[in-house]
C-alpha cells in the first residue's frame, strides 16, 4: 500500500510526461499568474486590503462558534433552516433526506468544493436523483467522470480539443474545438436543466453572520439561477466560511477575484438571504443551510489553524511551480496544490487525511500570492516535522539526516565527512563531473551533473588566502 508521498511520486511522473496536461497547465497557469499580478497592480492599497482581510479571518476563526451561532440565528430569522453536520456522512444524509422528503427528482448544482469533498453527487446519483453541475468547468469534469483538478478552475487540465470531444459525445454530433461555440452549446443545454430542476445545491463563498446572507461569486450566473429557480435551495458550507458582518464583505470581494482570476470582481456576485418572502417575485420556497465540520474543528488550536482562513481562491495553485508541472490530480486529494496539502491533513477527519508536506520546493510563491497571507511554507515545515516525528519518513532517510546533524554540529566530524565524501565520489567522476550516483541519489544524476568535492575546499584554501596582499 503506497504512502501518500509514493503515490504522488508515481502520479507526478506520469503527469510530467502527459503532453496534453502540460499544454493545458502551461496555458492556464501562466494566464492566471499574469492576470493576478495585473489585478493587484491596479489596486492602490493592495497590502492594506490583504491585511484587513486577514485580520477579519483571524478574528472569525478565533471566535468561530460565536459567529456560527449568530449565523444560524440570522438564517432562521430570515425564514431559513439550519442543519449542523459533523462529518461527510452526516452532510450527505441531510441532503438526501431533504431531497426525498421534498419529492425532488432533478438537482442543479453551482460549484462547491465542500460538496466535492464529501462526494455528494455520487451519493445523490446512487439514490436515484439526477444531478447536473452548472459551473462550466464542473460540468466538463462531470461528463468526463473525473474529480476537479483545481479549486476554482475544475477542468484546467483539459484542452479545448478534449472538451469538444466530451461535449460532442453528449450532443450526439461533432462540435468544434472553439471556446465560444462550446460555451454556447453548454449554455443552451444547462438552461433546460435550470428550468426543470426541483432543488438547487450551492456552496457558499461567504456566509454573513450578522444577516444570514449567503454570498456566491460566479462568472456564469449559474449561482444566481441555482439559488433562485428551483423550489428548494440547499447551501452546503464549510464551517470556516462565516464572516462577521456585511460590512466585512467588500474587502473580500476586492481581493478574492483579483487573486483567483485577476478580475476586479467576478461577473456575478449573488447575495441570497433565506427563502422567497411574501411579496417577492423570485426565490425558492425553502432555504436550507448545512454547516459542515468534516475535520475542520480539529485544526483549531493546532499549527494548521491558519489554513482555516483560506478563501479558496486557488491563486496559490496558479503560482506553485510544482502544481504547474503536475496539475491537481497528481496530489490525489480533493484539494490540491499548496493549500490542498495543508487542509488534507484534517479535512475528512481521522483516517482520511494525508501528509504531502514533502511535495513542495518551499519557494514561498504561495505565501506571496495569498490574498490573506496564509503562511503555507511555515505549515509545510510543521508537516515535515510531524512526518519525521511519526516515522512516516523512510528509515534510511531519517538516519541520513540524523547523521548529517551530528556531522554539521561538529567541526572535526564535518572536516572528516568532507574528506570521506571526496574519496567516495571519486570513482563516479568522469571528465571532472559526477555523471551517475547509486540508489536514491541517482535521482539527481538522472537529469543533472554534480561537481566533485573540490580538491581543496574553501576552508583548506583559507590558510593561504588569510595573508591579505591588500593590507598595509
Amino acid at each position: 500500500m503506497p504512502s501518500a508521498v509514493e503515490a504522488f511520486l508515481e502520479r507526478s511522473r506520469a503527469a510530467v510526461r502527459d503532453t496534453f496536461l502540460q499544454t493545458a497547465l502551461d496555458r492556464a497557469t501562466s494566464r492566471l499568474m499574469t492576470a493576478r499580478a495585473n489585478g493587484f497592480a491596479s489596486l492602490p492599497d493592495a497590502d492594506a486590503m490583504r491585511d484587513r482581510a486577514k485580520a477579519i479571518k483571524e478574528e472569525t476563526v478565533a471566535r468561530l462558534d460565536h459567529y456560527l451561532a449568530r449565523l444560524a440565528e440570522s438564517v432562521e430569522g430570515a425564514g431559513g433552516h439550519v442543519h449542523w453536520a459533523a462529518d461527510a456522512d452526516e452532510t450527505r444524509q441531510i441532503v438526501l433526506r431533504l431531497a426525498r422528503e421534498k419529492g425532488v427528482r432533478s438537482i442543479v448544482k453551482s460549484k462547491s468544493m465542500a460538496s466535492e469533498e464529501i462526494h455528494l453527487n455520487a451519493a445523490l446519483e446512487a439514490a436515484g436523483f439526477r444531478v447536473v453541475e452548472t459551473d462550466l468547468g464542473e460540468y466538463i469534469v462531470q461528463i468526463a467522470q473525473e474529480p476537479p483538478s483545481h479549486i476554482i478552475a475544475p477542468a484546467i487540465h483539459k484542452t479545448k480539443e478534449q472538451i469538444a470531444e466530451l461535449f460532442s459525445g453528449v450532443a450526439g454530433r461533432a462540435l468544434p474545438a472553439d471556446p465560444d461555440q462550446l460555451t454556447a452549446w453548454a449554455r443552451a443545454k444547462l438552461r433546460e436543466e435550470f428550468i426543470q430542476a426541483d432543488m438547487g445545491i450551492s456552496g457558499a463563498n461567504f456566509a454573513v453572520a450578522e444577516t444570514g446572507t449567503i454570498v456566491l461569486v460566479t462568472n456564469e450566473g449559474n449561482g444566481r439561477l441555482v439559488t433562485t429557480m428551483p423550489r428548494i435551495h440547499v447551501a452546503v458550507m464549510g464551517m470556516e466560511k462565516v464572516i462577521p458582518a456585511l460590512a466585512d464583505l467588500p474587502v473580500f470581494l476586492e481581493v478574492l477575484a483579483r487573486s483567483a482570476t485577476g478580475q476586479k470582481m467576478s461577473v456575478y456576485t449573488t447575495l441570497v438571504r433565506g427563502p422567497r418572502r411574501a411579496g417577492e417575485v423570485d426565490g425558492p420556497d425553502e432555504f436550507h443551510l448545512v454547516i459542515m465540520d468534516n475535520g475542520r474543528r480539529s485544526a483549531l488550536g493546532t499549527h494548521l489553524e491558519e489554513s482555516l482562513q483560506c478563501l479558496r481562491c486557488g491563486s496559490c495553485l496558479n503560482v506553485c511551480p510544482v502544481y504547474g508541472e503536475v496539475g491537481g490530480h497528481a496530489y490525489g486529494t480533493v484539494y490540491p496544490g499548496p493549500i490542498g496539502i495543508i487542509v488534507s491533513n484534517y479535512i475528512g477527519g481521522h483516517g482520511h487525511t494525508q501528509n504531502l508536506g514533502a511535495a513542495s520546493t518551499l519557494c514561498s510563491a504561495c505565501l506571496d500570492a495569498c490574498p490573506v497571507r496564509i503562511d503555507i511554507p511555515r505549515m509545510l515545515l510543521g508537516l515535515r516535522e510531524e512526518a519525521q516525528a511519526k516515522s512516516e519518513v523512510p528509515w534510511a532517510e531519517r538516519m541520513a539526516f540524523r547523521m548529517m546533524a551530528k556531522v554539521m554540529a561538529s567541526p572535526s566530524l564535518y572536516r572528516m565527512a568532507v574528506a570521506a565524501g571526496r574519496k567516495l565520489l571519486l570513482p563516479f567522476v568522469r571528465n571532472g563531473r559526477v555523471e551517475s550516483l547509486p540508489g536514491k541519489l541517482g535521482g539527481w544524476t538522472r537529469f543533472r551533473t554534480l561537481p566533485p568535492i573540490a580538491k581543496k575546499t574553501f576552508r583548506e584554501r583559507w590558510r593561504e588566502m588569510e595573508k591579505d596582499p591588500h593590507r598595509d
Partner: protein
C-alpha cells in the same frame, strides 16, 4: 524598481550605521565543498572594497537542510555550534540567499525555551547580510572593475527574494559591469526547482521545473545565468550541462571578480 511584482517582500536592510572595518565570512557548506572559487571571488572583492575579511575555521553549515526536512532540534544543535564563532564579528556575509535566510530569519526561532541563546541568535542574525546586499547597502559600492563580458540574466532565488527581500542589489551590481548586458528573463522570480531534498525525492518534477527556467533564461538571449545561491547554482549548472550546454551558470561574485 521591483521587476518581480512580488507584493509580500520585506524591504532590504538599509544600513545607516558606520561601515564595518572587518567582515566575517559565513562560507556555507555547499560553497566550501563545491564552489570554493566563489568564496575566493568574494574575499577578493571585499578586500578590494576595503574590508578586512575573517573566516572562523570551525564553521560548518547553517543547518537549513535539517530544518527544511523537519529536523528542527537537530538544526538548533548545528546553529548552537556556529553562533559563538561569530560573536566578535561586526558583520557576517553569506554567499547564498537560502543560508542567509536561515541565519537571519530562522536562527532566533530555533531556541524558544532558551532566552539567553535566543538573544545571542538575535544578535547574530542582526549582523547577517547576503553578499550583494552587503556590497550595495553597506559598502555602498558604485564601481565594479570586472573583465567579464557577455549577455547575462539574473535568477531571483526564492529565499533571497521572498525571504530576505533582495532583488535590486544584484541587478545594480550587474549593471556596473561595463561589458555585461543585463537582460531580464520571463519568470526570473520563479523557483528553479531545486528545493533541497525535493530535487532528489521528486527528480522528474524538479527537472521539469528546471527545464522551464533554463528555457526562459535562453529565450531572453542570455549566455550566462547569474544567481546568488549555491543550491540553485548546483541545480541549474548541473542541468544546463546536460540539456543547455551553451548556457553558463555563475555566482554574482564570479562575474564581479572576473579578470
Amino acid at each position: 524598481m521591483d521587476p518581480t511584482g512580488a507584493i509580500n517582500r520585506e524591504p532590504g536592510t538599509a544600513n545607516s550605521g558606520p561601515r564595518p572595518r572587518s567582515v566575517a565570512l559565513f562560507g556555507t557548506c555547499l560553497m566550501d565543498m563545491f564552489f570554493p572559487e566563489v568564496g575566493e571571488a568574494m574575499v577578493k572583492l571585499l578586500r578590494r572594497y576595503g574590508c578586512r575579511v575573517t573566516y572562523p575555521m570551525d564553521q560548518t553549515c547553517c543547518g537549513l537542510p535539517l530544518l527544511n526536512n523537519g529536523y528542527r532540534e537537530e538544526a538548533a544543535r548545528v546553529a548552537r555550534a556556529n553562533i559563538p564563532l561569530f560573536e566578535d564579528a561586526e558583520a557576517i556575509v553569506v554567499p547564498s540567499g537560502s543560508c542567509g535566510w536561515m541565519l537571519k530569519k530562522e536562527f532566533p526561532g530555533l531556541f524558544p525555551a532558551d532566552a539567553a541563546l535566543r538573544a545571542r541568535a538575535e544578535a547574530f542574525a542582526a549582523k547577517v547580510y547576503e553578499f550583494s546586499q552587503f556590497l550595495v547597502e553597506v559598502l555602498k559600492v558604485t564601481e565594479v572593475d570586472s573583465g567579464f563580458h557577455g549577455t547575462v540574466t539574473y535568477h531571483d532565488s526564492c529565499h533571497l527574494l521572498r525571504g530576505l527581500g533582495v532583488a535590486t542589489a544584484p541587478r545594480t551590481l550587474l549593471k556596473m559591469v561595463r561589458r555585461a548586458t543585463l537582460v531580464e528573463m520571463a519568470g526570473s522570480d520563479h523557483c528553479c526547482g531545486f528545493g533541497g531534498s525535493f530535487a532528489v525525492k521528486f527528480p522528474e518534477v524538479s527537472n521539469a521545473i528546471l527545464g522551464q527556467k533554463l528555457a526562459n533564461a535562453q529565450a531572453g538571449g542570455a549566455h550566462v545565468v547569474v544567481a546568488n545561491d549555491a543550491g540553485c547554482i548546483l541545480h541549474m549548472r548541473g542541468g544546463a550541462e546536460r540539456s543547455a550546454p551553451g548556457l553558463r551558470v555563475m555566482h554574482l561574485a564570479e562575474v564581479l571578480a572576473a579578470d
